[in-house]
């Protein structure tokens, strides 16, 4: 049985800057995500992972390659086509810092329903639909009338997730969903994301820390300096990493018991990487 893919990225190339300062941020990246699959896109700062996620939702133009979202090729899409695709509510995005991605002058309730209102759904109907998702993100309806500044970091992140859910998208990109959170909040959000996965939504987690999302992903894709260096099922990437960078990534993840012992291994891998 072939699962239809909700996202297909083929040989993507993205440049930033003009003239002499032009540099290649993504180089020939290909990735596919099937319906209901959870993929972890791992890379360090500057690897291009956020750029890739932003290109998928149309915030960043690309110079070469193809992107197909839910069967629709958006490679040549202009503003109008992007708007129509977006209004279908197929793809959504959860930003890393909810404090910056929620309008500080709107109540969180207003922010959550915004995608529905943009689609043209009436206020009352949007209300009702949005409330149905509050349970899934364990958000108290009482908080809806508050401004983002009045909520805790964990609550804000859950609001951000709720906003991404209301259009019932097939694919959600999540940029470092838990890295800004404290332990207790982190666990709660991870639980919510686990629930999403079980509900069959395609998820792409962007993170620099493999450890934080390993428990949630089916597959891992490792990005290093704009190139996809390794892709595979989570378990095999973690236990049998092949590329030097992947191995360094695994060895660097702070695990409770084995991290100290791997020091010399890490030093060797770093030396290899920089030759």
């Amino acid at each position: 049985m072939s699962a239809r893919s909700v996202l297909e990225v083929e040989d993507l190339e993205v440049h930033y800057g003009l003239g002499r300062r032009r540099r290649r941020v993504l180089d020939g990246v290909s990735l596919s995500v099937s319906n209901g699959e959870a993929v972890g896109l791992i890379g360090e700062t500057g690897s291009g992972k956020s750029t890739l996620a932003r290109a998928v939702v149309g915030l960043v133009p690309f110079s070469r390659g193809r992107i197909v979202i839910d069967g629709q090729d958006v490679s040549q899409a202009k503003a109008r086509q992007w708007r129509d695709l977006r209004r279908r509510g197929v793809v959504q995005y959860v930003f890393q810092d909810p404090l910056r991605s929620l309008d500080p002058d709107l109540t969180v309730g207003q922010s959550i329903v915004e995608p529905l209102l943009i689609q043209g759904i009436s206020g009352a109907e949007a209300d009702a639909r949005a409330r149905a998702f509050l349970g899934r993100v364990r958000l108290d309806p009482e908080l809806l009338g508050r401004l983002p500044g009045e909520l805790s970091g964990g609550q804000r992140q859950r609001v951000s997730v709720a906003r991404a859910l209301v259009t019932e998208p097939k694919l959600i990109m999540l940029d470092e969903p838990v890295s800004a959170l404290d332990s207790s909040n982190r666990v709660q959000v991870l639980e919510i994301l686990k629930g999403l996965r079980e509900a069959g939504v395609g998820l792409v987690f962007i993170s620099h820390d493999l450890g934080s999302v390993a428990g949630l992903t089916d597959r891992i894709a490792v990005l290093y300096q704009g190139e996809l260096v390794e892709v595979g099922p989570t378990r095999s990437i973690i236990n049998e990493p092949r590329h030097v960078y992947t191995r360094l990534l695994i060895d660097s993840a702070p695990t409770l018991r084995s991290a100290a012992a791997k020091r010399s291994e890490r030093e060797q891998l770093r030396a290899l990487l920089h030759t």
Binding site: G58, R87, R100, S101, L102, L106, V113, I118, Q119, D127
Partner: protein, 291 residues
């Protein structure tokens, strides 16, 4: 936002004073007991039952002149502010969207304008273009535009690259939607504050110009002009300048107070204070418009 401003005591006070001034501007001549232009034989009279503020050196009723003079000042101040608003705010917002060259050019123009002392320039312009109030006000309006430029540019910048605008775009929002729902609420408060301050500044400028004899020609009454002539007869009527001076001061002070009140209810401080909003704002309806 208007409701929030009025909720503050400073806001109410400011709006109260300004309403009175505007009322005087509109109805001043009508309620004045005498015509401001009628000369009479009772020159430099003291405060009395028939002349509540006495008369000036030509026997004209001071109170009537003040009431009638309010119009020129108010209209002048508003004119200056409106010119400054358009000349400043539009390029300010556009500078964020029209590319590097436009941005650089406007920034340098603004720097130049800031460095010019406006009264001197206004006087110089009237010397060049003739003694009309319109020319002078135009020039002053342009000279006061930089603050609108900076304020609207800053507001537009902060919104343009923000993540919540990106989030709206990802959900398919059109530019119109984004402006209405996100940009407007960020740009309106700072511009309102600037407006209030500039109207106050405009009052000072108009009064100063008329004090110097530029603009509205005698015998038409203006507060500044009255101050000027009062100074000549100070030994006869030492209390005379008090009335127009107080009015000028009160009006400018009210404008600044209004600006402060708006500032208190908007931006970071305003949002923190919004914790204590009255209950009607805490309704759980999700989809009402922001504001």
């Amino acid at each position: 936002m208007i409701r929030r401003v009025l909720a503050q005591s400073t806001g109410r006070l400011a709006v109260g004073i300004l309403s009175v001034i505007v009322f005087l501007a509109i109805f001043g001549s009508v309620i004045a007991p005498y015509s401001p232009l009628t000369n009479s034989a009772t020159q430099l009279a003291h405060i009395s039952g028939s002349h509540w503020l006495g008369t000036d050196y030509l026997g004209r009723d001071t109170l009537s002149r003040i009431l009638a003079g309010s119009r020129a000042s108010v209209i002048g101040a508003i004119e200056v502010a409106v010119i400054a608003l358009f000349v400043g705010a539009i390029p300010g917002v556009l500078s964020v969207y029209l590319g590097r060259v436009f941005e650089w050019v406007t920034l340098r123009l603004v720097d130049t304008l800031i460095s010019l002392p406006f009264l001197l320039v206004a006087v110089a312009v009237t010397a060049l273009l003739g003694n009309g109030i319109t020319q002078a006000l135009l020039v002053v309006g342009v000279l006061l535009a930089p603050s609108f430029y900076r304020v609207s540019r800053a507001a537009a910048l902060s919104v343009a690259h923000s993540q919540y605008v990106e989030a709206a775009q990802i959900s398919g929002a059109s530019t119109a939607w984004i402006v209405r729902r996100h940009v407007w609420s960020k740009v309106l408060p700072p511009i309102s504050i600037s407006m209030a301050y500039t109207v106050g500044a405009g009052f000072v400028v108009v009064s100063s110009l008329s004090f110097l004899g530029i603009g509205v020609q005698p015998p038409a009454p203006t507060w500044g002009g009255m101050l000027s002539s009062d100074l000549n007869y100070l030994s006869y009527q030492p209390w005379a300048p008090v009335a127009p001076a107080l009015l000028i001061i009160a009006t400018v002070w009210a404008c600044n107070l209004l600006a402060d009140a708006i500032r208190d209810v908007s931006g970071e401080a305003g949002r923190a204070a919004a914790n204590m909003r009255p209950k009607w704002r805490r309704k759980l309806a999700l989809s009402q418009g922001g504001g």
